[in-house]
């Protein structure tokens, strides 16, 4: 009988890779990856037409485990590579799997420009509020006051809200969910995959070893509970002030609109040019 995980195990995991995977016990990256794989399965796409692209980071290690065309680029550069792949061969389904640092720190410019271009790439960001792979430094999403190895007295910068930022840069689909809401997460990712244009799903995730421990957040279970408690659907935030929303995790579809997609438009340019 095929349960979701059976499908993942049989169809999508690379059998020549070493499992369990490298992520720390209880780290949420695996939950996000599983949600992505279930969503992919629901699209009906073949593995040959899917390209999974990442940068560098714990989350960016995901592609190695899964049996698609997989590409582990340099830190922050997943989106330019993805853009090149999609622009050069539009029938490919291009998905980026990235972390908050990879995508919003060093990769921030590529993120906003991919949004602006509205190119048909789906980005799944594992936002664990920290740089995991390098051992727990502040990230652009670390909430104010939290501790990190480079902010032992607490972070003083404002954090980015990745989904909102993406929307305001031009992304035509942007949503946020958490590893606690694994099913909702899956459904948002599915919507994102099926959306024509640039889409982004921000998955709030626990990083027990490199973030939770330092901030006294308890074990992975406590961290997942926290996600449950802090989550508030966007539909309920209309009357909330900035301050009230500040410590919440606003979940839901932040942006969804139709707009012409880049490769479609470029196909038009080719057509005109060819006829000139």
């Amino acid at each position: 009988m095929t349960t979701p995980n059976r499908i993942i195990l049989d169809k999508y995991l690379r059998h020549n890779k070493k499992f369990p995977h490298i992520w720390c016990p209880g780290c949420g990256i695996g939950i996000v990856l599983a949600a992505l794989l279930r969503a992919i399965d629901r699209t009906g796409w073949t593995k040959d037409e899917i390209v999974l692209v990442s940068g560098i980071g714990c989350s960016s290690r995901a592609p190695v485990y899964v049996d698609f065309n997989t590409l582990h680029t340099a830190h922050g550069r997943a989106l330019p590579f993805a853009t090149g792949i999609k622009a050069a061969r539009p029938p490919l389904k291009v998905i980026v799997f990235t972390g908050d640092g990879d995508c919003a720190a060093i990769g921030g410019n590529h993120l906003i420009h991919a949004c602006r271009r509205n190119i048909d790439v789906t980005t799944v960001v594992v936002n664990n509020y920290i740089y995991g792979m390098t051992g727990g430094q502040q990230s652009p999403t670390t909430p104010e006051g939290m501790k990190a190895t480079t902010a032992t007295r607490g972070v003083i910068d404002q954090p980015f809200h990745i989904a909102e930022l993406a929307a305001s840069a031009g992304a035509t689909f942007a949503a946020r969910s958490t590893t606690y809401h694994a099913k909702e997460l899956e459904s948002f990712i599915l919507k994102a995959l099926e959306h024509k244009g640039f889409s982004l799903v921000e998955a709030i995730s626990q990083a027990p070893v490199c973030f939770g421990r330092r901030n006294g957040m308890g074990d992975p279970v406590e961290m997942v509970k926290r996600e449950k408690e802090l989550a508030i659907p966007i539909s309920k935030t209309a009357d909330m002030t900035f301050e009230e929303k500040r410590d919440k995790i606003v979940t839901g579809i932040i942006e969804e609109r139709e707009a012409k997609e880049w490769t479609d438009l470029y196909a038009g340019v080719k057509k005109t040019a060819g006829e000139e």
Partner: protein
């Protein structure tokens, strides 16, 4: 197939499980419990409602919830 007609099996692949405790904690029915040795176990399998939340939330792909028609 009516619920009552279904037999469930929660298979936990111990080799991959890292004992994070997520499945047992968030199992809405208390079907899965964390054992002495740290590993989860579907001790109260009869309570299982097949919601698959354990399966979806396991970071290790280590759980599958299988259902079978009950042989009457």
């Amino acid at each position: 197939m009516a619920k009552a007609d279904v037999k469930r099996k929660v298979v936990i692949y111990r080799d991959w499980c890292k004992q994070c405790g997520i499945c047992s904690t968030f199992c809405p029915t208390g079907c899965i419990v964390k054992e002495e040795d740290g590993y989860p176990f579907p001790r109260y399998i009869e309570k299982c409602i097949g919601c698959r939340l354990c399966e979806l939330r396991c970071p290790e792909f280590a759980i599958t919830v299988e259902e079978e028609a009950k042989s009457k």
